[in-house]
């Protein structure tokens, strides 16, 4: 299977895609940079799924469907990027879904001060949560899994308390409404923002000090310390950024929903974020961050959801199918994780 697939995809165009990620060798390190199935699997799966939908799923060609998909995908792209960074340091950030809810709740309670204040507050709230998470992880050396799990519970609880469990409808005009509806040439503004953030992210991890430090810390924390890297500051930065992005994602999701709702926004989104990052080629063992792969992973999962809905697959059954799909995709990544 392995040799078959690697010959199958040893075509020149693959090189382009191969360069998307940093730290280009799978462990066990063969010197060759020939792309193999693992590196391309996410794009391949995405293409296959789109072809499947174009041929078999009724209504998939409708531009409104595509637009709706992009609206859905934008916030997930943001949190999945933050996730890929956290995973790249050999950590994980399970709090992103709950931070989205907290962000939404902050918008809900601050409508009286104007929408811009609400948006700023929501993003700041996300940043604050992320920094707190980072401090627990970097300074107090709490395992990222535990620290972010605690925050998952606490941020959701705080969000629900702020809104007293109620849904708060957002005004029909102003920036929030615009974020939830405006498109440029049919492409949602939020999707353009998400794509721009992804591009900035690729630059961050490849060319900047914090991004490179994150990769070094993930590749070997011991070696990173001895090489003189600011390991703690890097971890605080990583989780702070993840929280910040989750805050923005919460704004996007609330704008799309047209309401602040702590019980609905971001529920189980952390799982999609982790799955997208890992399917996209960011190994759980750290030291490598696949930015474009993460974006493709998000699109893959979003389209998969839509495929089930549009083919009238029973919602419960759809979840099982999606889980099976994720397990299958991660199995193909097992050499890294």
């Amino acid at each position: 299977m392995k040799s078959f697939s690697s010959t199958l995809f040893a075509w020149p165009g693959g090189r382009q895609m191969r360069r998307i990620s940093i730290g280009t060798t799978p462990p066990g390190g063969k010197p060759s940079r020939v792309p193999n199935l693992r590196d391309l699997s996410v794009y391949l799966a995405l293409v296959l799924l789109i072809i499947f939908d174009l041929v078999l799923t009724p209504g998939f060609r409708n531009p409104f469907v595509v637009r709706s998909l992009l609206f859905e995908a934008a916030p997930v792209v943001l949190i999945a990027l933050g996730q890929s960074l956290a995973i790249g340091t050999r950590g994980i950030d399970l709090s992103v879904g709950s931070i989205m809810a907290l962000s939404s709740a902050i918008i809900g309670i601050s409508l009286g001060f104007g929408q811009n204040v609400g948006i700023a507050g929501a993003i700041f709230g996300g940043l604050a949560c992320g920094l707190l998470n980072g401090i627990f992880i970097a300074i107090f050396r709490i395992a990222p899994l535990i620290s972010s799990l605690a925050l998952l519970v606490a941020a959701r609880g705080l969000a629900q308390a702020l809104l007293s469990g109620a849904r708060v409808d957002l005004p029909m005009d102003g920036p929030l409404s615009a974020l939830g509806q405006i498109t440029i040439m049919g492409v949602p503004v939020v999707a353009i923002v998400a794509l721009a953030v992804a591009a900035a992210f690729a630059f961050l991890v490849r060319r900047t000090l914090p991004g490179q430090y994150a990769i070094f810390v993930g590749a070997s924390r011991e070696a990173s310390v001895l090489a003189g890297h600011p390991v703690r500051a890097t971890l605080i930065f990583v989780y702070g950024l993840s929280g910040l992005l989750a805050g923005i994602a919460g704004v996007f999701a609330s704008a799309r929903l047209g309401a602040a709702d702590a019980n609905y926004i971001g529920v189980q989104f952390e799982l999609d974020a982790v799955a997208a990052a890992v399917i996209g080629g960011t190994p759980l063992s750290g030291g490598r961050i696949a930015v474009a792969g993460t974006v493709a992973g998000v699109l893959l999962l979003t389209i998969l959801d839509a495929t089930f809905i549009m083919n009238n697959v029973n919602a419960n059954f759809a979840q099982i199918l999606k889980a099976a799909f994720i397990v299958g995709a991660l199995y193909m990544q097992r050499g890294r994780a």
Partner: protein, 516 residues
């Protein structure tokens, strides 16, 4: 009566022979010391004796009958128990619970009889001279005491042969005495003990006989009483001991140099746990200083404490007349002190990353502006060091794991040098690399010194250290025991000094006092 005997054991991993021909015997009521430097084959032998590995050739005899263990459980059932450094107990339960895991005294075979268990535990502890309340939660005891409990648990399982692997590394001086008490009780109870340690004074205090492994063969087996330290050390290092007079080689330890403006590195009264004890040393501009000593003498720990990779308990480090407080690796690099770890695999290379990324890891800040790394400046610096150090690579974008050990090491030396240090510490830089790369690294060291850099270096090979350094600082059990010039001398001279020192009156009484 010979209890356990290993005859002509051989074991290979792939093409690497870990044990070639090793024989070892332990009699009932005998304590046998097992010694050897890293890679000599001690741990492989222990794994074979305890059923963790299978030997390729040779026989293991227990009570004269040939046995073959395919699991640690089988070895345990046969009466061979090993105590490792890690503690395998339940911290949240009481000492008594831990001592009697799975075998607590029961009432009607069902309910644990706590009172009975506590009193049994107390009896067991006092038999081995450990004064601990058996009802206390294990976690509340010090790590050393926990380890002693772990040892008592193991030996109380009815073991006839007990293997202690570096049992004292986590123990305080008092706890070491308690451990010795336990081991001597075992001897009285006719148990055979194999005692593995790097601390020679412990072996002399405790063991009836010592076996030295080197390169997978037995270099020496001798009764302790007939084994002078010099011969033991010579066997461990694989050298013949040549008797020479000591006074001729030793240079007076230069207190005058301490305040000298030539000093690029000045260390005073450095302490870290029990492994670095009151260490003081100087490295002058353009000087190559070797840290000599056996394995476990504190070479690596001394360097790490100087570098700030571990936080020293006390002491001062001065780099280029600049006295430092609360050192960290990042600050050391800023102050002009670079360090190469001996553990290339886990503390050196970033194995998934490229040659360029590995080499530039410590200079990123210097080639970045506003946090953005300049590709151009990075590539220029990388190619400079690749050519200067003669790194053979398939390109700077090749993964570091595609390079040979020697070339990986050159990349890491390049990383250390890229920070433009005034003093560099290289911990066993030639470990596990081929002869050609070794010679190139020696040349690099000499070259650095000739350009005025101070170099502090260690090696597991004494001869190499003598040949490549100007001065040696000799460590024994964490202490500096002497400083001597190496110029014009042979390794044998230094060996004589090291060995001589270890029988010198200053260190002998401690060992003798502990001897039975």
């Amino acid at each position: 009566m010979v209890l356990l005997e290993a005859r002509h054991i051989a074991k290979s991993f792939g093409h690497v022979a870990a044990l070639r021909d090793v024989s070892l015997e332990v009699a009932a009521g005998e304590i046998v010391g097992l010694l050897g430097e890293n890679g000599a084959g001690k741990s492989t032998l222990i794994k074979i004796l305890t059923g963790l590995e299978r030997h390729d050739a040779g026989d293991i005899l227990l009570d004269g009958r040939s046995v073959a263990f395919s699991s640690p459980r089988q070895a345990q059932d046969a009466g061979i128990a090993a105590v490792y450094q890690e503690i395998n107990l339940i911290p949240e339960r009481s000492v008594a619970d831990n001592l009697f895991i799975n075998r607590a005294p029961r009432v009607a075979g069902l309910f644990i009889n706590r009172r009975q268990m506590i009193s049994d535990a107390r009896a067991l502890l006092s038999r081995y001279g450990l004064d601990v309340d058996p009802a206390r939660t294990l976690r509340t005891l010090g790590l050393g005491t926990q380890q002693l409990v772990s040892i008592i648990r193991t030996v109380s399982l009815g073991a006839r042969v007990v293997i202690l692997d570096e049992p004292t590394s986590a123990l305080s001086a008092h706890e070491v005495e308690l451990l010795f008490g336990i081991v001597r009780t075992l001897r009285e109870e006719r148990v055979g003990v194999i005692y593995v340690s790097h601390r020679l004074s412990e072996c002399y205090a405790l063991c009836d006989r010592m076996t030295v492994l080197r390169d997978g063969v037995v270099a020496l087996t001798e009764a302790t009483a007939r084994l002078p330290r010099a011969r033991l050390i010579a066997a461990m290092l694989g050298r013949e001991l040549v008797e020479r007079s000591r006074s001729a080689q030793v240079v007076a330890n230069d207190g005058a140099a301490a305040g000298s403006s030539d000093n690029v590195l000045h260390v005073e009264h450095l302490n870290w746990r029990r492994q670095v004890v009151d260490v003081g040393l100087d490295v002058r501009k353009g000087e190559v200083v070797g840290l000599a000593g056996l394995l476990g003498s504190g070479r690596t720990e001394t360097m790490k404490a100087i570098y700030g990779a571990v936080t020293p308990d006390s002491g001062t480090v001065t780099i280029m007349q600049h006295r430092r407080h609360r050192a960290t690796p990042a600050r050391s690099l800023q102050d002009g002190l670079a360090f190469l770890s001996e553990d290339r695999r886990s503390e050196g290379i970033f194995s998934h990353l490229t040659v360029a990324e590995n080499l530039s890891a410590s200079m990123l800040r210097r080639i970045a502006r506003w946090g953005i790394i300049s590709r151009q400046r990075r590539d220029a610096l990388v190619s400079e060091y690749v050519s200067r150090l003669g790194v053979k690579t398939g390109g700077s974008d090749a993964p570091i794991s595609s390079l040979s050990g020697g070339n990986q090491q050159k990349v890491l030396i390049g990383r250390a040098l890229s920070t433009d240090p005034s003093v560099v510490m290289l911990d066993d830089p030639t470990r596990g690399i081929d002869v050609g790369a070794k010679a190139e690294i020696h040349r690099t060291i000499a070259d650095l010194a000739s350009h005025g850099m101070g170099v502090l270096v260690t090696s597991s090979e004494l001869e190499e250290l003598v040949d490549t350094t100007d001065r040696l600082v000799v460590l024994d059990e964490g202490r500096v025991v002497d400083t001597l010039a190496t110029a014009g001398h042979h390794a044998d001279d230094v060996l004589a000094v090291i060995a001589g020192m270890q029988t010198a009156p200053s260190s002998a009484p401690a060992a003798e006092a502990g001897a039975p």
